[in-house]
């Protein structure tokens, strides 16, 4: 079985972003970038399925400017077999990303597509589901467990009330939640090896997809900052303040 994994380049999750003074967007100049944490989990899951003998090829795809090749190399170092960059000037929105991924799916014919549940920059949580609708594939979102059977996959999903399991016919879409696995670190030899793995570049045009953006970003603000309050000396003072000052008890 062949697995396609979509990976996105985003700000490193440890970085606290700053808004530009003119409020046009956040400032990403000189900010450390990384593989979206959920995408890292997606790559790890695919590689584990390959190591278990369930999958025989793991292809990673990323959409965006040339810089995304860096994240594709990371994914290759984690164990993916080959990579595809779909070159666009800016990061596409989720609908365009889903349309482009549909083009890649048609070309590659994977049995499973694994995506992150959410990009930690836009916090959209949309692309996998959209790809599902566009391709007609069933989806197992927010997965904390993936068990592949003969022609189907059982996905255990993290939902508000607990866990839910769905059975999906292959080909299917899976989006990852944090507890699905703990991604490995890429070893130095694997990083070196990744440099020689195939990385092909294509474009939305070649895939026959028109990229558009119907949501305009008008303004980006810093949220109202909370200021640190007071330190209390002991439990008595805490209970007193909560009762008499904050009046929440």
């Amino acid at each position: 079985m062949k697995i396609l994994v979509a990976v996105k380049r985003v700000i490193d999750y440890n970085v606290k972003v700053r808004v530009k003074p003119d409020q046009s967007d956040v400032d990403l100049a000189n900010v450390k970038m990384a593989l979206n944490p959920f995408c890292e989990i997606a790559v790890e899951e695919a590689v584990r399925l390959k190591e278990a003998g369930t999958a025989d090829e793991v292809v990673v795809v990323s959409i965006g400017p040339k810089a995304v090749q860096e994240q594709l190399r990371t994914a290759l170092a984690l164990g993916a077999d080959r990579a595809i960059q779909v070159e666009t000037d800016d990061m596409p929105d989720s609908l365009s990303a889903a349309k482009i991924l549909k083009g890649v799916v048609e070309k590659e014919g994977p049995d499973m597509v694994i995506l992150g549940k959410q990009s930690i920059d836009s916090d959209n949580n949309q692309t996998g589901q959209m790809l599902g609708a566009l391709t007609g594939m069933p989806q197992g979102t927010f997965a904390s467990k993936v068990e592949v059977g003969d022609g189907f996959v059982n996905v255990t999903r993290e939902i508000d009330g607990g866990l839910q399991t769905v059975k999906l016919n292959l080909p299917a879409i899976v989006t990852t939640d944090l507890r699905l696995n703990e991604p490995r670190y890429a070893s130095l030899p694997n990083i070196m090896k990744a440099k020689r793995k195939p990385l092909e570049t294509t474009s939305p045009d070649e895939l026959g997809v028109e990229v558009k953006r119907t949501i305009k970003l008008l303004k980006v603000e810093t949220p109202a900052e909370r200021s640190a309050g007071v330190k209390v000396a002991d439990v008595d003072e805490l209970v007193d303040k909560l009762k008499n000052e904050a009046k929440v008890l």
């Binding site: 609908l95 589901q129 305009k216 007071v230």
Partner: protein, 321 residues
């Protein structure tokens, strides 16, 4: 303008997030109609019809919708939704699951997790784990939107008099099926609706120690939450996770115990009215957002807090205790 709100429910009762989504719909303005899709959920439909501002409720009662499978619900919502200017659902794990499919079926973008309505096409939403707030304008003819419930005050559950109409279109796909679920059972209030939330982090050391938080929560009628580290370590189940990628809470009082205050955790609780932090490390970032900080060992503090609260609430307890 006409707005379709997709109700969140468990086939028995309507979820409070629906009333908050209705509030967002009222801010947009226009006729508000609600879809209740499920199985054996006619009581839900009748109840939603009484909510303030609801003109009509459409009831799609069929086995295909029992477990809110995204493949089925999205086809139904997209089919009905093409006649509306806006489609709204709460940004719960159910709404997040099917709404992007609806958007893609209608070939429009989705605006996720809005926290305010600026006009009928302009909304605010948090990005980068809430470290920035974006104002976005949608140029799509149908606006598909998920609503962050904590950001809106619920509409009145009673007082309205909408009609309930049954619809019998059935979308039942053959590629996905429900296998089972494991729902957490708790006598405590729901995390996202509770007035007081007490959360524990890695500092709790193990799942057993969470009983110390539960004891206090039960005294206060509070819900118990957790950081991702506590969930990852297996102390507590996933549905207790508060944060960017867990649940968003905004109670009157949030007590963080043994939680360092990573940005991903803050994203889920920093809109709480009053924040208390109990941590033995005085440099912990959680203190930067806490109204009241107590630098101490939680294993000393929690038993004492329980005791002191007992004194506080003694009046309301039976004499024998």
């Amino acid at each position: 303008m006409s707005i379709l709100v997709v109700a969140e429910h468990d086939n028995n009762a309507v979820d409070p997030s629906t009333l908050k989504t209705l509030a967002a719909a009222q801010k947009i303005g226009g006729d508000i109609e609600v879809l209740v899709a499920g199985k054996g959920c006619s009581t839900v439909a009748e109840n939603v019809a009484k909510a303030d501002g609801v003109k009509k409720v459409m009831l799609a009662d069929n086995e295909a919708y029992e477990h809110q499978l995204a493949e089925n619900i999205s086809e139904l919502v997209a089919d009905l939704g093409k006649n509306y200017s806006h489609i709204l659902a709460p940004a719960t794990t159910t709404g997040k699951n099917f709404m992007p499919r609806v958007a893609a079926l209608l070939d429009v973008a989705q605006v996720s997790d809005i926290i305010s309505v600026e006009s009928d096409d302009t909304f605010k939403r948090p990005i980068y784990a809430g470290n920035a707030i974006a104002t976005v304008q949608s140029e799509d003819n149908i606006k598909v939107i998920t609503v962050r419930a904590t950001a809106f005050d619920a509409v009145a559950a009673e007082g309205g008099s909408g009609d309930v109409e049954s619809i019998d279109s059935v979308f039942n796909n053959d590629k996905s099926e429900f296998v089972g679920e494991q729902l957490a059972e708790s006598e405590r209030p729901d995390l996202t609706a509770a007035e007081i939330v007490i959360s524990g982090g890695r500092g709790m050391q193990n799942g057993d120690n969470f009983h110390m938080l539960e004891d206090i929560a039960d005294k206060l009628g509070a819900a118990v939450g957790a950081s991702r580290a506590a969930v990852d370590a297996g102390f507590v189940p996933n549905d207790m996770q508060v944060g960017q990628t867990g649940k968003i809470v905004a109670p009157q009082l949030y007590v963080a115990v043994g939680i360092s205050g990573a940005i991903q955790h803050l994203a889920g609780m920093k809109d709480s009215k009053v924040i208390v932090a109990i941590n033995k490390d005085e440099e912990a970032p959680i203190f930067q957002v806490a109204d009241y900080g107590l630098v101490a060992d939680l294993f000393d503090v929690l038993p004492e807090l329980k005791e002191k609260l007992k004194n506080t609430f003694e009046d309301s307890l039976p004499a024998s205790i």
